[in-house]
């Protein structure tokens, strides 16, 4: 065979030239890495993620059950603990629907119409995400504190208490969860355009009917997605709530604040027990979120950012 002794016209490093018939595994595809590189990268990523992300989660549950099931139940089934759970549920039950209504209204205005200053409005809606939770709490103190607040004198004279009370906690929670639902809906509704609504209106539907029967079904999964994330943050918020709460046991302590108090009192097992409830909520949230992403990927907005 002549090709064994052929001139090296391919490349200067043609010393790798081998007899044509020799069986060898073909080289890997040009857009792939070698199996060794591949396995190393996967391994490194998995190890780092397990160490940085999973280990803390494991620690929460391990510490929570350090004193067995009984210890866990005892820690959770304490009057202050129950009060904290109730308050957390109450705060979420107010702030999530409030942001839901806002999110739908904002998305409707932004996605279905063209008006000036739209981009600026979207930036303002995203603003609470880039504000430190502590600052978020502080601004409400500055506004509503009875002793130092801008409206302090008015509140004082009418006997109203916002800071160090439930209304302050709700307001701070609404602030930090403000953009969640709106930012899920806006890109999706922009993508969907207005043709469906125009069709419904041309068929004689009223505006409200169009919204309820056409717009809402189109965005229901994105809405649920936003509610899910909003709720997780609302129940778990710590910094902002901590500033406005006043830490009054049984009255203004949410679950995360209760975790802190127990921890600072060296009741570690009890603290981790309450924390494990919040961690479980986080896991359920992640599970549902992944499920939504898997099943309804097309019906969640494309190019969604977190």
């Amino acid at each position: 065979m002549s090709d064994v002794s052929a001139p090296a016209r391919l490349m200067s490093d043609a010393e790798t030239d081998t007899p044509a018939r020799r069986l060898r595994k073909p080289p890997r595809l040009p857009t792939e890495e070698s199996p060794l590189v591949r396995v190393s990268l996967i391994g490194l990523a998995v190890v780092l993620l397990l160490a940085f992300l999973l280990l803390p989660l494991v620690a929460v549950f391990t510490e929570a059950f350090r004193q067995g099931i009984d210890g866990f139940v005892e820690a959770v089934n304490d009057p202050d603990g129950i009060a904290a759970i109730k308050l957390t549920l109450l705060v979420a039950a107010i702030s999530v629907p409030a942001n839901l209504v806002f999110g739908v209204a904002a998305a409707w205005a932004i996605a279905k119409y063209e008006f000036r200053g739209k981009a600026f409005l979207i930036t303002l809606i995203d603003l609470p995400f880039s504000v430190s939770p502590v600052v978020a709490g502080l601004v409400y103190v500055i506004l509503y504190s009875t002793s130092h607040g801008v409206f302090g004198g008015y509140l004082q004279s009418h006997g109203l208490q916002i800071i160090f009370a439930v209304p302050g906690i709700v307001l701070a929670t609404i602030f930090v969860t403000f953009p969640f639902i709106a930012r899920e809906l806006i890109p999706l509704m922009e993508e969907q355009g207005t043709t469906d609504e125009e069709a419904a209106l041309s068929l004689g539907a009223t505006g409200l009917r169009t919204f309820l029967t056409v717009t809402l079904p189109n965005v229901k999964w994105a809405l649920l997605y936003g509610v899910l994330l909003c709720n997780a943050r609302a129940m778990g918020e710590f910094g902002a709530v901590s500033v406005v709460s006043g830490h009054i046991r049984g009255l203004t302590n949410t679950m995360p604040l209760h975790v802190e108090i127990l921890y600072n009192e060296y009741q570690f097992a009890a603290s981790f027990a309450v924390a494990s409830l919040l961690a479980a909520l986080a896991l359920v949230t992640l599970g549902l979120k992944s499920l939504l992403e898997l099943r309804y990927a097309d019906e969640l907005a494309a190019g969604r950012r977190h």
Binding site: D3, A8, T16, P27
Partner: protein, 364 residues
């Protein structure tokens, strides 16, 4: 016996013949190519023509080393390239959507392959700049070096992609649907220009297209593919005038079909024997006759030589008329082209039909 240590610089850009031997490719159980053989002479311009899914792009990518065949070999000259990586093959590849590096200027795009060379063979920056200038002039984009791809038109991007592929002084130039993303007018201009460029640079060139006009107009030879196999290889004239299979008849140009019976090597329409055309033979039994509209000769009147038929449809089309002619005795309407003036052809008129250069292929 020559050694392998010959400096590459002496052979770079050397027009290279290409030999494809029994290439097959399976993608997870489905075969994209079944044993393709093809020889491309040095400096030849060859079109791979076929519908989507015919395996033409897969074949091109295997030659480039972007895919690896399940079996078979690719020879560049006398060197088996089958086990070479794409980096080692030194092919110029122009992608359908150009795949320009959009974060680099036009000049940096073109220089990329030169800068990617190992230090020993890398020209210095002054030499790279000089070569980039030459290539920009070659593709008629002098002065565009500092622009970004997003600032160019489709046709300009296409030429940048070509210049980038030529910069590495490839042994073979491979183009995947080079004009596919361009509008009709630009496509025609670039087609002519590419032919002239090829005649000047003399690269062995393969391009993939699904556009028969493009293939017939541009290529020295055309390879017609379907279902992972080569149907026919030949000059554009061969392919058009003497299609070797029913597929080629249908895919290239237009053709009408007439059911025939072959007896003793001679096709019969009903009981009338017709000339079988040149060189193609179908076994005795039922067969199909293919004929192009311009090869269907229509004469007025039922008398005389020819196959008796009636005019079924008449359409005026510019300077000529298109006729649909129903052949008597068989259920077939044949397309024909007749001059706009002259023959008094009305729907229902009796005519005699002659068939030139038909192809007869066994049915089924």
């Amino acid at each position: 016996m020559r050694t392998n240590s010959q400096p590459a610089a002496a052979t770079e850009g050397f027009p290279m013949e290409l030999d494809i031997r029994n290439i097959a490719k399976d993608f997870g159980g489905t075969a994209a190519l079944h044993g393709v053989d093809l020889h491309v002479a040095s400096g030849e311009l060859v079109a791979l023509l076929g519908p989507s899914g015919s395996g033409k792009t897969t074949l091109l990518r295997i030659i480039a080393g972007l895919e690896f065949p399940t079996r078979g070999q690719v020879f560049f000259g006398e060197i088996d390239a089958s086990e070479k990586t794409v980096q080692e093959r030194n092919v110029g590849f122009v992608f359908q959507h150009y795949a320009l590096f959009k974060h680099m200027t036009v000049a940096d795009n073109i220089a990329y392959g030169l800068r990617a060379r190992p230090k020993a063979r890398r020209p210095d920056e002054a030499e790279i700049a000089r070569r980039v200038e030459t290539l920009l002039d070659l593709v008629q984009l002098g002065g565009y070096g500092k622009r970004y791809p997003s600032q160019l038109s489709g046709g300009q991007r296409q030429r940048v992609a070509l210049a980038r592929a030529l910069a590495i002084e490839p042994q073979v130039l491979l183009l995947d649907e080079p004009f596919g993303a361009l509008d009709a007018k630009v496509r025609k201009e670039l087609r002519r220009w590419l032919r002239e460029l090829h005649d000047r640079t003399g690269h062995t060139t393969l391009f993939v297209t699904h556009d028969q006009e493009e293939a017939l107009d541009l290529a020295d030879r055309v390879v017609v593919m379907s279902n992972g196999q080569i149907e026919q290889v030949g000059t554009p004239e061969d392919i058009y005038d003497a299609p070797a299979s029913p597929f080629v008849f249908d895919f290239i140009g237009e053709a009408s079909r007439i059911p025939v019976t072959v007896k003793g090597g001679v096709p019969f329409i009903g009981d009338r024997a017709v000339s079988a055309g040149s060189g193609r033979r179908a076994p005795d039994g039922p067969a199909t006759l293919y004929v192009r509209p311009e090869n269907v000769l229509v004469r007025a009147g039922a008398a005389g030589e020819g196959i008796p038929a009636t005019v079924a449809t008449v359409h005026r089309s510019g300077s000529s008329r298109r006729l649909g002619v129903r052949i008597e005795g068989v259920d077939a309407v044949v397309e024909a082209i007749a001059p706009a003036e002259g023959l008094p052809l009305q729907v229902g008129a009796s005519v005699a039909v002659g068939l030139r250069a038909p192809g007869v292929f066994a049915t089924g």
